[in-house]
């Protein structure tokens, strides 16, 4: 059986619904290509097309739907028609759309995403400054959620119908149904407002002494609650996906063999069922990265965590269209590239794809 990772998709998309991971059996194209080079080229080509579509849609959204940039630039300044025309010419808006798009594409490819209205700084610089905070938050949350969620999910699926299973599924469905930002607000209220264990928001307190250790410890202290918020929602998805995946493997003949060899139940699960169940799960985990980005935006907004998500939120409030466009391009491209990387890694993980 060929499992082309990009095609074993969950029917409800990345952010919607982890509950029916195994219903989509259709849409699988046969064959994975002749060799690795061909596979690599087809994946990279697909990624290039996807990235091009991102740029095209950003152009469409922000240049065509988003109204006249001249209006936005001259909102507070009275201008004569002649001045407006001069500004249009200066911005290249008097050229045909196709030519405008080429200029736009050139700008994107050279890292020129325009200047933020709000900060009066290049968008690329702003994104660069905020990237670290987001990577720290998202990375930690992903590691926590994945290790815990996959482990719990596998155990729940293995003992389907047990009390442990029911509790875990109930908990996951509830966490999954809760809006991320609301969960964050509740967590702030309980752990920061009432218990006073953690700071309410931000990344580093202003009165923390300089120096590596105090700064790091303070950052970690600030990191706990946002990570808890973000990880809870992702965790719920991973539990449900992994559980469903283990249930799919449970009927496998190879498990009967493993048991017939005299392996303990625990060993059958850990050595035989889980590695096989992990493969489709990895695919889904990467497909849901888009949802993770959404969670990051909300968590950073609630906790005022100075990352890209907060930047996007602040841009939205103005609205600061160049900055919003920059974050849109960045988040979308990052998710597409991560998925492509996952496709390539998957080939090494799963021998069935490698030899297909």
């Amino acid at each position: 059986m060929t499992r082309d990772p990009s095609l074993v998709a969950e029917p409800d998309g990345p952010a919607t619904n982890p509950t029916n991971a195994s219903t989509d059996d259709g849409g699988r194209r046969p064959g994975g290509g002749d060799g690795f080079v061909r596979y690599l080229l087809s994946k990279l080509g697909g990624a290039a097309i996807s990235l091009f579509m991102v740029v095209l849609s950003a152009f469409f959204l922000f240049r065509i739907l988003g109204g006249d940039p001249v209006d936005a630039l001259t909102r507070d300044v009275p201008t004569t028609p002649a001045e407006r025309a001069a500004l249009r010419e200066q911005l290249g808006l008097d050229q045909p759309l196709s030519l405008q798009f080429l200029h736009y594409l050139q700008g994107v490819l050279t890292g020129d995403l325009g200047e933020s209205y709000q900060y009066q700084q290049p968008v690329t610089t702003l994104i660069g400054e905020r990237l670290g905070a987001t990577v720290l938050l998202t990375g930690t949350a992903l590691v926590v959620a994945a290790s815990l969620g996959l482990w719990i999910g596998a155990r729940a699926g293995w003992r389907q119908g047990s009390r442990f299973d029911k509790v875990q599924v109930g908990l996951s469905l509830t966490l999954w149904s809760a809006p991320t930002f609301w969960l964050g607000m509740i967590i702030i209220m309980v752990f920061a407002r009432y218990l006073g264990l953690f700071p309410i928001n931000g990344m580093v307190s202003p009165h923390t002494p300089p120096g590596f250790w105090p700064q790091t410890l303070d950052t970690l202290h600030h990191l706990v609650l946002p990570v808890l918020t973000m990880a809870s929602v992702i965790y719920a998805q991973y539990v449900l996906v992994m559980r469903s995946s283990v249930l799919d493997e449970k009927g496998g003949d190879y498990l009967v063999t493993a048991r017939a060899k005299g392996l303990r139940d625990d060993m059958v699960r850990r050595r035989h069922a889980v590695p096989n169940a992990l493969l489709p799960t990895v695919t889904l985990v990467f497909l849901q990265l888009g949802g993770v980005v959404g969670g990051a935006i909300l968590t950073e907004t609630v906790f005022s965590w100075p990352g890209l998500g907060l930047l996007a939120y602040q841009a939205l409030k103005i609205p600061d269209l160049p900055l919003l466009q920059g974050t849109f391009l960045f988040f979308s491209s990052a998710v597409i590239l991560a998925n492509t990387a996952a496709d390539l890694v998957y080939r090494f993980l799963d021998p069935r794809v490698r030899h297909a």
């Binding site: 409800d12 259709g26 469905l173 509740i186 209220m189 497909l287 990265l289 909300l298 979308s332």
Partner: protein
């Protein structure tokens, strides 16, 4: 298969065929209901939804719309629960209970409308991609895959930001970003249906693309659409709350998301106004959970392989 044979002249026989079809449909619905009743979680979800929908519809009977008017608010700022205000007041002194009740209307309305939009797009794309094949399918599936991978919230934010804040904006932003899952599901099901012999018969009798798709494929994929719709409403309600929280909704309308947004911006969190936070949040949680339970139960009925999960 329910259409009368072309060229059958006698009218009474036609009606009897139609009556037979209706009888069969009723029996199918009865069978479906019997199986659905076996799903305990699904019944709980259904009961919860009925209560919430009745409450939302009855909001004008229970209270005046004036309860939403800031200028006519009678309570103090962020007053804790009392006899007069069972769930406390918000930062302008309005009753949180009544706000939540009225907010249910907007949240459900947006959730359901957006889902319908997504379902229409998803079904059209899915059936077209499954039926036609060739370059069209390739193109449609590439676009679908692209939408699946893309961060939905980021796309919805971008859309909502350029369209300006309003209810329509939210519906469009949710609808446009949540159809791809349905499209994939429908395409897979369409491929399965089209492989069946009666479609070959229809083709042999000269049925056109439109006839095949609407008369043979669509009725067979509808059950799956229904299950998918129910799950989709759950995420649309969540998405509505999220986008309203980010300030993209109509500022003059009260929804659960906009309540939480104001709770956040008015400092209710640090003030410790738990009633203002918990009420709309738990309402969202309840609706989403109910729709999810119903959707999972429907899936289990239509797809026995998933039963007991």
């Amino acid at each position: 298969m329910n259409t009368p044979l072309p060229g059958t002249p006698d009218a009474p026989r036609l009606t009897s065929v139609r009556a037979l079809a209706w009888q069969r449909r009723r029996a199918a619905i009865g069978r479906f209901w019997r199986e659905y009743r076996q799903q305990r979680a699904g019944m709980v979800g259904l009961a919860g939804l009925l209560i919430i929908v009745v409450l939302a519809l009855a909001a004008p009977l229970i209270s005046d719309r004036d309860a939403l008017d800031v200028t006519q608010a009678t309570g103090d700022r962020l007053q804790p629960p009392s006899l007069e205000f069972p769930l406390g007041t918000d930062e302008t002194g309005r009753s949180v209970l009544l706000l939540t009740l009225w907010g249910a209307r907007i949240s459900l309305l947006v959730g359901i409308t957006a889902t319908l939009l997504a379902m229409v797009i998803g079904t059209l794309v899915g059936i077209a991609a499954g039926h036609f094949g060739g370059w069209l399918t390739g193109l449609l599936m590439r676009v679908t895959d692209w939408f699946i991978v893309l961060p939905r919230l980021v796309l919805a934010i971008a859309l909502a930001a350029v369209l300006g804040p309003s209810l329509t904006t939210i519906v469009i932003a949710i609808g446009v970003t949540s159809w791809p899952g349905t499209a994939r599901l429908i395409r897979a099901q369409t491929l399965a249906v089209e492989a069946r012999p009666y479609l070959e018969r229809a083709k042999a009798l000269g049925a056109g693309h439109w006839h095949q798709m609407t008369r043979h494929v669509l009725p067979n994929v509808m059950p799956l659409v229904l299950a998918s719709t129910t799950l989709e409403v759950a995420s649309a309600v969540l998405a509505e709350a999220t986008l309203s929280f980010l300030g993209l909704g109509d500022p003059s309308r009260v929804s659960w998301g906009s309540m939480l947004s104001r709770a956040n911006s008015s400092g209710a969190v640090t003030y410790g106004a738990w009633w203002y936070l918990l009420t709309p949040g738990l309402a969202i949680l309840a609706v989403v959970l109910c729709f999810t339970l119903c959707g999972r139960a429907l899936e289990a009925v239509f797809n026995p392989r998933l039963r007991g999960r």
